[in-house]
């Protein structure tokens, strides 16, 4: 065991070495000053392993492994595969630690440990937390799980029924099991936890169920709760204290989490946190965005609805908020802001800035000064007709009046639709190219607001939605974005939404999967598709790459269609009803003709 660790560390060191000296002919991005590798920021330079879903604290999903290059990727072959036995949407990122791969399945959230040292990676052990079946009834958009996290010999993951479980990475025994929420209040856990220092950070899902959103820090040792920061309600619940210095005036004030809601509505206002948390060890800040306010029908919740759709910078030790910025005040279209915040140092206007980069559902790519919370730029990366941009003076998103949903009236051609221009599917940033790679969707919608009762434990949505392909007719896109200039470098149009995560490597290859089951490798600089492989079911998972015990670079991805767009397949939904799956079925009615349910891990190598 120890040997393997040593090798891995060595390999990683090698890889980062390669990285620092780019191969001939490859120019570092942005002229003279190459951006420091994101991994160096995180202090986790081990490119051979994959310890957290987002690869590193900066959320770059960049791997320094360079064995697979643009020239040899065409020879990539299936190394082995593994069936998870669960036929729901597989959104998780596998972890690779010390020669073992850990994968967590959707409900019933089985954790498998696969032994990479042996041929065909046989099952070492599996851990079955047996979550309550009833939890399936409150999981808004398929019973997914986005992965586990590894630290300190423990694999930590969430179950759908609100448990966070730590399992001994070696033995598969449960170390601790913490109950964080209640399905009877509509809460579920679907996110991949993040372990910062000795704390496990977990947020809840259920913005469609009238939950009250929070992020909780658990003690990695025993699972005890260290702090919990709510995303609505009075300042003391939100952990807003004297340190709190938001950049914009509209985010300042006392108890905004109460006063910006109709009375009592903040108690059921949603704003969970089911996406990505990033961490800057240097500033000792975590960054994450909160989810949408509920119900969807904005007329039922006049006001800014703080702190939904907000990015928070918090101290990981106490949870105390340092700054916040609300992306979508009075969110109109379920535009959760749970998307990843990449912690990067970029040359902005000739000046090196510590920034946060965030592709937001509302279609704008936000670049922040991560110390102050100032929006440096917010450029649209996809077609949007619901907002004219962000007023950088006030920081407010400028909504288009005629696209505001209203009760009892269908507002048509809302772009981007409820899943936003880009949903949870995480992006990757390559310091070599200086580009951000991400799949996103090109979906517009018609929406009608409805009256809705809050009935605890039932959906609290209040909208009829009907989605369809946006301009151009393609429903997905894989895009390379230059965050410094705010321009699109290149883009690949896909028939279906690209709901998978992305990984980019030092070989300048970016990997992603499509919902009709193609796993693709593209040239990170040109966007040429270099290789593709048809897997068993549509891909909505997060590809990873690692160095196997044999020293070879592997690429792994879970296939198994599902999630919100794939619910038509994974949930046997009926396309006769265009409003099914909160309206996504209408846009995906042909998906069953392309793929069926699945749940298989595919691992590729040269």
């Amino acid at each position: 065991m120890r040997t393997w660790t040593t090798i891995a560390v060595l390999a990683a060191a090698l890889a980062s070495g390669c990285h620092r000296n780019p191969p001939q002919g490859e120019q570092p991005a942005h002229g003279a000053a190459p951006a420091p590798p994101a991994s160096s920021v995180t202090g986790q330079p081990d490119d051979g392993q994959w310890l957290m879903a987002s690869k590193d604290y900066a959320n770059t999903r960049y791997s320094g492994l360079g064995e697979i290059t643009t020239s040899n990727v065409k020879d990539l072959k299936l190394a082995w595969s593994f069936s998870t036995g669960v036929l729901r949407g597989q959104e998780a990122a596998p972890l690779v630690v010390n020669g073992t791969m850990y994968i967590v399945t959707p409900y019933p959230n089985i954790l498998y440990a696969l032994d990479l040292t042996k041929p065909g990676a046989p099952l070492k052990w599996s851990f079955k937390p047996k979550p309550s079946a009833a939890a399936q009834g409150v999981a808004c958009c398929d019973v997914v799980n986005r992965g586990a996290a590894y630290a300190d010999g423990k694999v930590v993951f969430n179950t759908l029924d609100n448990h966070t479980v730590a399992v001994d990475a070696t033995t598969g025994e449960q170390v601790w099991n913490a109950t964080l929420g209640d399905i009877n209040r509509g809460e579920t856990l679907t996110m991949a936890p993040l372990i910062v220092k000795d704390k496990v950070l977990v947020g809840n899902s259920g913005g469609e169920m009238g939950i009250r959103g929070w992020v909780t820090a658990l003690n990695l040792k025993d699972g005890s709760q260290v702090w919990r920061a709510y995303h609505t309600g009075p300042d003391k619940d939100v952990l807003i204290g004297p340190q709190f210095k938001p950049f914009y005036a509209s985010d300042r004030g006392t108890d905004l989490g109460v006063s910006s809601w109709p009375p009592d509505q903040w108690k059921i206002g949603g704003a969970g946190m089911w996406g990505w948390i990033s961490y800057d060890p240097e500033l000792d800040l975590i960054f994450y965005g909160t989810a949408n306010p509920g119900p969807w029908n904005p007329e039922l919740r006049p006001g800014d609805n703080k702190w939904a759709c907000t990015v928070f910078a918090r101290r990981p030790d106490t949870g105390e908020a340092v700054w916040a910025y609300q992306y979508n005040p009075h969110d109109l279209f379920d535009h959760d802001s749970i998307n990843e915040h990449l912690v990067l140092d970029l040359q902005i206007n000739g000046q090196m800035r510590k920034v946060l980069v965030h592709p937001e559902r509302n279609g704008h790519m936000y670049v922040f000064d991560r110390q102050s919370g100032e929006v440096l730029s917010a450029k649209p990366f996809a077609f949007t007709n619901t907002a004219t941009g962000v007023d950088l003076k006030t920081g407010r998103l400028q909504y288009v009046e005629e696209k505001k949903p209203s009760t009892g009236k269908v507002v048509r051609y809302i772009c981007p639709a409820e899943p936003g221009a880009k949903d949870w599917q995480p992006s990757a940033y390559s310091p070599r190219t200086g580009l951000l790679y991400f799949g996103h969707q090109n979906i517009c919608e018609d929406m009608e607001g409805l009256e809705v009762s809050y009935i605890e434990g039932t959906p609290y949505v209040g909208a009829n939605v009907k989605m369809y392909a946006g301009p151009g007719g393609h429903r997905g896109e894989f895009k390379a974005w230059d965050p410094v200039n705010g321009t699109i470098a290149w883009s690949i149009k896909e028939q279906f939404p690209v709901w998978s995560g992305t990984v980019v490597t030092a070989g300048d290859v970016a990997f992603y999967g499509t919902m009709d089951g193609w796993f693709k490798a593209v040239h990170a600089r040109t966007g040429d598709v270099l290789w593709q492989f048809k897997v068993g079911s549509g891909i909505i998972g997060q590809p990873i790459t690692y160095k196997g015990p044999d020293g070879k670079q592997y690429v792994a991805v879970l296939s198994g269609v599902g999630g919100w767009p794939g619910a038509i397949v994974s949930g046997n939904l009926d396309p006769k009803d265009p409003t099914a799956a909160l309206g996504f079925v209408n846009a995906m009615s042909d998906l069953p003709a392309y793929t069926t349910k699945g749940g298989t891990l595919y691992v590729f190598s040269l």
Partner: protein, 180 residues
């Protein structure tokens, strides 16, 4: 003879008309029926599965429409959308996990089902559950077309219940009754 025929025809029309149009506001719903729900086609020991009774409201336009109203009022539509499903399964198709008969649906609502269907006992009055059960059957075309609701004053969704294609239930617990 002819007069009799005419009379019988007239009475038949009258009865149908009344059933469809009656509006009873103070409902006395039928007592609960057999205590379990057969969701299997397998009946060991021979004999026929117990006869199913149809919802008292299935032919009543007012009650079906009430069912439709309650379907969204009680957030059923939150999970099942307008029948196509979402968090919950589709209701306009021919698959019925726990049976398509009115009393099976009644029990599904009343008692909940393990994979996420909440138990509504004590939260929805009995008569309304029966109305919901009747309406849910109409969603897949199992109620008479002249009594089933028409489109709602909302976004155009699936075909309205009075135009819903009749989906002959598959994997029904008790097949023959489906042919009603």
């Amino acid at each position: 003879m002819r007069t009799e025929l005419v009379l019988i025809a007239a009475m038949a029309v009258a009865v149908c008309g009344c059933k469809r149009e009656t509006r009873t506001f103070r409902e006395s719903p039928p007592a609960s029926m057999a205590s379990d729900v057969a969701v299997s086609d397998l009946h060991p020991g021979g004999g026929n599965p117990p006869a199913r009774s149809i919802s008292p409201y299935e032919q009543n336009a007012w009650a079906l429409n009430e069912g439709k109203r309650l379907f969204s009022a009680y957030n059923c539509s939150g999970c099942h959308a307008n029948g196509g499903g979402g968090m919950g399964p589709a209701l306009i198709d021919d698959e019925w996990s726990y049976g398509h008969e009115a009393d099976q649906i009644y029990r599904t609502i009343l008692e909940g089902r393990p994979n996420g269907m909440p138990a509504w006992r004590g939260k929805i009055p009995d008569a309304q559950i029966w109305q919901l059960a009747a309406y849910i059957r109409s969603m897949s075309g199992l109620a008479p077309k002249d009594a089933a609701p028409s489109r709602s004053d909302h976004m155009n969704g699936p075909p309205p219940e009075n135009a819903a294609p009749r989906m002959i239930p598959k994997n029904a617990g008790t097949p023959p009754a489906a042919e009603r």
